[in-house]
Amino acid sequence: MVVSPVHLIAAPLAAAFLIPLLNKLYRDAARVVPGVVFLYNLSVSWILVNRVFRSGPIVEVIAGWKPPFGINLVMTPFSAVLVMLVSFMAFVIWLYGFRFKRSLKGGVVMYYEILQMMMAAGSLGIILTGDLFNMFVFVEITGITAIALTAFYRDRDGAEAGFKYMLLGSMASVFLLLGILLIYTQTGSLNMAQIAERMPAVATGVKVTALIFLLISLGTEAEMFPLNGWAPDAYSQAPSPTSAAFAAVLGVAAIYALARVGFTLYDHGTVSGFLIAMGFLTMLFAEMAAITQTNLKRMLAYSSMGQMGLAMIAFGIGSEAALFGALFLIINHAIIKSLLFMTGSYFIYNLNDKRLRALNGIHKRLPYVSFLFALGALAIVGFPPFSGFWSKFYILTAAGAKQMMPLIIGILAVTVIEMTYYLRVIGRIYFAKEESEPASHKPSIQALVAMTSLAVLIIVLGLYPDLIAGFLHRASMFLLDKQTYIQTVLHLS
């Protein structure tokens, strides 16, 4: 069987349908199968990424109908990088969550595992699809899984968070539908390449209204400022692997969709100012809220929003360097924020307390986990020599190339806020008054492997960013190259 992008989606789907059956045969099937699927996805995406970077974008035709007419999956260098990232992160998060809720047996775990797996599959779908309506379907897949996962815990305020997410998510999907419909009426097509090709002919009024609707809906998913009320609740109430996945999988897909709309469907110049402004506001408000948080996971959630804001800024700047920085930032954010959520949840797990105050002196009890958390915190703030530095630096460089001094100063001022609260937490973990209760829940070996691999990545990418720089450069170049995208998709041989 030839390896193709559709495997990435078909495999999880098949597995999702299969898991309820397998679970009847073997108790822990629900735990194991997603791992197998993710491993498969990881290898497939590795092969595909290599292929894409060797011989250009892959356009996968579905149901035998060539692009403008059928649905198609497009794997450009840009999406390839993100596919790789999502596959990898999904696998790592699965690994981390392997022993998750081992006290629970059967059904619940199965639901959890299916939803978690499908969230990754949906995100992959968003990244891969070349069809606007298909993207909507995948957005809904991720949305529903995310809502269900948010409300997964019964003993907390999960349902409340889930409801908020649901409300905003539904409104977002309504606007997405309206946007898609408007575009469809004007261009008579749902294929992104064809839309992109026909878009210049569309009357400005409708075009902009459609753009607003699309931006609103995708902005909700990508945690854009006034639309992100769901985010802190959802992040903080979801199970920890899910929180990690929100940052590492869902966020990646959302920001990708935003970029795809901004860069391919529309002209970058149209959304540039908007993305920069909203990105900055997102970042500003998120970090301002984060610094006053008393709850660890909520703080991390706001910090995630801040990072998404920075990514939006980078996409808004839109030069090659900025996109490079944005991609790097997304990768860093996925890796580092996952690490933070993973380690943070072990704190919470051990303390039974989400408040920051409870973290005092936790390093005595969980030395290794604390070390990893500190590493992650230093990295996400952007201290060299960790990977977080390079992405931030590149984005700033891009802003500097355009001499956007106020923006640079703004970003850095917000970073100061970010740094403050992260280092406060480090201070608490290591230096606040100690309590000498032994750790009740040591991390499982799988979780340790997962967290360590992320930490190693942070350091490796920090010391040797050139490892992925080549990929990222080509990916960002390709995102800018709208015509090639259209040509590749529409004129398949």
Binding site: A10, A63, G70, G107, A148, F152, G188
Partner: protein
């Protein structure tokens, strides 16, 4: 009051904007274009639905074949909704016991009348039949897997609300649900293996307006019908009887 007026104002602005935007696509205007030489997607579908796929219902052709991937996603959404529902409404044993003791509000259980019970008993097979008919003929007539599935689920709903002790066999539901979903995916994979494209239809598509026509389309719609029917039933069951499922 101020808030409401403000909301009304906002909504009016929004409404006007949406309306104005859609006015750009005037109602009833023909935007399909020339079907024989298709420029728009719709025209292409209208052309190839009868010519290539030999599927009478072009909506079905679009849903199952042209845009079959959407439908796969749609089925997945439904499946995930059912799963999510189950995970959200899953109740622990102790909670269940508490509920039985009356600590948690329970469904109001009024016995239904004889008339209803008898009527339901008669209607139920008919409804099932109708549902099956709808999805089997999805490629010929209006309707299809989703509609048929919904009809089937309605039948079950009727039984659920009529007979409070009516139970469906969950194992069967799960098997059907999973297998039909899997079959859908496998059909897609079959296309991938045989023709190099996921969900690609077979070369042989029969004759327009025959029951057995359209290649894999009716087959897939049947899977969808079964899956939707079982799934919706499952959802209803979960919503009505929010108790731990037996396999836990």
């Amino acid at each position: 009051m101020i808030k409401r007026s403000f909301v009304v104002f906002l909504l009016l602005v929004l409404g006007v904007a949406v309306y104005e935007a859609f006015r750009q696509a005037p109602f009833g205007q023909n935007r399909i274009g020339d079907v024989e030489n298709p420029q728009s997607v719709s025209a292409f579908y209208l052309k190839h639905s009868p010519e290539t796929l030999h599927t009478a219902n072009s909506v079905t052709a679009i849903v199952v074949n042209f845009r079959g991937f959407d439908t796969l996603g749609e089925v997945t959404v439904l499946f995930l909704a059912a799963t999510g529902l189950a995970s959200i409404l899953y109740r622990r044993k102790e909670e269940e016991e508490a509920a039985e003791k009356g600590h948690l509000p329970q469904r109001i259980q009024l016995p239904s009348s004889v008339l209803v019970r008898t009527g339901a008993k008669i209607l139920f097979p008919l409804i099932l039949m109708l549902g099956i008919y709808v999805f089997v003929h999805g490629h010929l007539t209006p309707g299809g897997g989703f509609q048929g599935g919904a009809i089937i689920a309605t039948g079950f709903l009727l039984m659920f609300i009529t007979y409070k002790r009516f139970n469906v066999n969950h194992n069967v539901l799960i098997w059907l649900e999973s297998l039909s979903g899997l079959a859908f995916v496998l059909t897609g994979v079959y296309g991938l293996i045989s023709y190099g494209s996921f969900l690609q239809n077979t070369g042989w598509t029969g004759r327009l307006n025959d029951l057995i026509s359209g290649g894999l389309i009716p087959l897939i719609y049947i899977f969808i019908g079964i899956k939707v029917g079982t799934e919706l039933t499952n959802v209803l069951d979960t919503l009505l009887h929010t108790k731990p499922r037996r396999n836990e």
